[in-house]
């Protein structure tokens, strides 16, 4: 099992390598010249040329990439053009807020989405089902920045019970959690419903009912244990997507996290931060996918058997 874990970890490396090439190319396509950006409009041509030399921007692109990759492997993502602080340091400073938000958002998504999907499936083709399914679809369709503003309007302006920005107390976390988790919640609800409907029709559920065990046991032991397998996959995939949502959430609620770091860096043409930030996001997504794979093995003994065989 442990060996399988490392094997999967190895798969992550080419993907991250690809991401590094992609993001490096994207950033170096940018029209702005970092040296110009750093020195501002007052700089002379000579100053700019000197700085370009100093930053290694005169070297061929593949050499620049080689240097970037070599440093990145050592955990050095360069220095921010704007603040001159190491990019890694900036990322680590911002990461806890983003991680907190992401985990809270996921928890919200599961806690609300799962029961919504289960209820919808159990009451299939009734108004309860229609309502749950519609709510899920609405959650999936409404832009999260709009939800953010509407929540703010309602809970910070009309009924001022929650602060509209900052990251100091638990009160600051409520609205961002909802905003970040609502789409994943909708996806989980939809997936749970369709997965439930599929599992309910399985022969083994009928077998379980034929044993005369309680409805609760049929639901938890025989239905949900199987329903969870595809739901975990989707939730895991969406976690990556949801991670992107922090860009919006952090901007709207003025939370100093990774998402805002990247948006600000793009606006300021601070390319080392963009590069490093995107790479870090990709790493997070990769790790989450890895964890989902492992969770899979816990949920499904058939997969676990394959893991053992892969030893």
């Amino acid at each position: 099992m442990l060996r399988y874990f490392f094997k999967r970890l190895m798969f992550l490396i080419p993907v991250l390598f690809g991401v590094s090439i992609l993001i490096f190319s994207i950033v170096h396509l940018a029209p702005g010249d970092p040296a110009e950006v750093m020195l501002g409009p007052a700089a002379t041509q000579e100053d700019i040329a000197n700085l370009r030399e100093q930053l290694g921007l005169t070297k061929p692109l593949y050499v620049q990439y080689g240097i970037f990759l070599g440093n990145a492997l050592k955990g050095d993502l360069g220095r921010s053009i704007k603040s001159n602080a190491p990019v890694m340091e900036e990322i680590m400073e911002r990461f806890p807020a983003t991680l907190t938000l992401a985990l809270l958002g996921m928890t919200f998504a599961i806690v609300i989405g799962l029961p919504l999907g289960i209820i919808a499936a159990l009451k299939q083709n009734t108004w309860v089902d229609a309502l749950c399914s519609f709510l899920a679809l609405v959650g999936f369709s409404i832009p999260n920045f709009w939800i953010a503003l509407m929540l703010m309007l309602l809970l910070s302006i009309y009924i001022p019970i929650l602060p509209s920005s900052g990251f100091d107390s638990w009160k600051n976390l409520i609205m961002p959690t909802i905003v970040l988790g609502i789409q994943t919640m909708a996806v989980i609800a939809r997936m749970t419903r369709s997965s439930m409907l599929e599992v309910i029709r399985q022969d083994y559920v009928r077998t379980a009912k034929a044993k005369g065990i309680s409805d609760r046991l049929v639901l938890t032991r025989h239905i949900l244990s199987n329903v969870m397998i595809p739901v975990v996959t989707i939730a895991g995939l969406y976690f990556g997507h949801q991670l992107g949502g922090v860009v919006i959430t952090e901007t709207v609620f003025s939370i100093p996290g990774l998402g805002r770091l990247i948006v600000d860096a793009i606006r300021a043409q601070d390319y080392p931060v963009v590069q490093g930030g995107v790479l870090f996001f990709a790493l997070c997504v990769g790790i989450v996918n890895l964890l989902v794979d492992l969770l899979y093995a816990v949920l499904d003994p058939r997969i676990k058997a394959q893991y053992r065989a892969a030893k």
């Binding site: 080419p14 993907v15 991250l16 690809g18 991401v19 992609l22 993001i23 994207i26 950033v27 396509l29 940018a30 029209p31 679809l137 609405v138 999936f140 369709s141 409404i142 832009p143 999260n144 920045f145 709009w146 503003l149 509407m150 703010m152 309007l153 302006i157 997936m191 369709s194 990556g240 997507h241 949801q242 991670l243 992107g244 949502g245 860009v247 919006i248 901007t251 998402g259 990247i262 948006v263 793009i266 606006r267 043409q269 963009v274 995107v278 996001f281 990709a282 997504v285 990769g286």
Partner: protein, 301 residues
């Protein structure tokens, strides 16, 4: 020949009991879609929005960019049903014109994603082997970065413009079309009619266009409908962040963004554009869901 084969496929996929006469496959789809009330509502709303977008100059009571400093931040009234913004521009007109940009961006971005993704997917599925492996690993790379962050980075590099926005959103959606088409192409590849086409010496490109693509149409259409919804959301999000359509162009996302500073005094500046986005996206999603169920009942996830 193709359409006939498809109709057989569709019919056998349909209920064995219904002994309908063999009609065109799209008629069959329409027959199933008609039974789905929600999908019909979604479709109607989408069609209405397209009509609104096309007829915007006729429908809008004012010029969307006409500023009027005497009419700043007016609440909704009979003269301005959705109020006016901080430059005195009529919000109703701006929301109506906004539908043009949103639908345009949505469809073009999906067009970019679906065409390039579709071609890549068809190549992967048809040739298989190393090429397939390489392209799919590239798609994994794209998927490893959260969509919105990828789009932000691309727009950041290319600069903010309508075209770049569509390219960014299109590229970030590319992998899903590649995957869908690849999966269909894989199932078609080994089938007899493809072998037969090869035997009579048809070129690979022709086989892909004539035999493989028609067989992927159903999933592509479903993915595209849902994709347009996603694209509209992403584009609006980018504009909201100031990385998409720039003011003063009437675009829902950027209208929301500029209305944000007046959230307290003039909440209608953020309410209506957001409502408009929600309605479009919801309608597209409902329609897409219905389409998926009626194009192939077995396609349901």
């Amino acid at each position: 020949m193709n359409s006939e084969r498809q109709s057989i496929v569709t019919l056998s996929a349909a209920d064995g009991k219904t002994r309908e006469k063999r009609r065109s496959p799209w008629w069959e789809v329409w027959r199933r879609l008609r039974r789905n009330k929600a999908a019909l509502v979604g479709m109607t709303v989408v069609v209405l929005l397209v009509v609104v977008a096309v007829l915007a100059p006729v429908l809008a009571p004012y010029d969307p960019n006409q500023t009027n400093m005497t009419q700043r931040l007016k609440a909704p009234s009979s003269a301005h049903p959705l109020g006016t913004d901080n430059f005195g521009r009529d919000m109703l007109s701006r929301v109506i014109y906004g539908s043009r940009i949103s639908l345009y961006v949505g469809f073009v971005a999906v067009g970019i994603g679906a065409i390039f993704g579709g071609i890549l997917g068809a190549i992967c599925g048809y040739y298989g082997g190393r090429l397939d492996n390489f392209i799919m690993r590239c798609m994994d790379v794209l998927l490893a970065i959260p969509q919105i962050i990828l789009a932000i980075a691309i727009v950041g590099a290319l600069g903010t413009s309508l075209l770049n926005l569509m390219i960014a959103v299109g590229i970030s959606q590319l992998p899903r079309y590649a995957r869908v088409v690849r999966a269909s192409a894989l199932t078609v590849r080994g089938q007899e009619f493809v072998e037969a086409a090869k035997a009579v010496g048809a070129s690979d490109a022709r086989i892909i266009v004539e035999n493989i693509l028609p067989n992927c149409m159903a999933p592509i259409i479903v993915q595209s409908t849902l994709g347009v919804a996603q694209a509209i959301l992403s584009a609006a999000a980018l504009s909201f962040l100031g990385l998409g359509i720039q003011p003063p162009t009437a675009e829902w996302g950027s209208m929301l963004s500029s209305g944000r500073q007046f959230l307290r005094q003039a909440p209608y500046l953020t309410f209506f554009p957001g409502l408009a986005i929600s309605i479009v996206v919801l309608a597209l999603n409902i329609f897409g869901d219905g389409l998926r169920d009626s194009l192939d009942p077995k396609l349901r996830q």
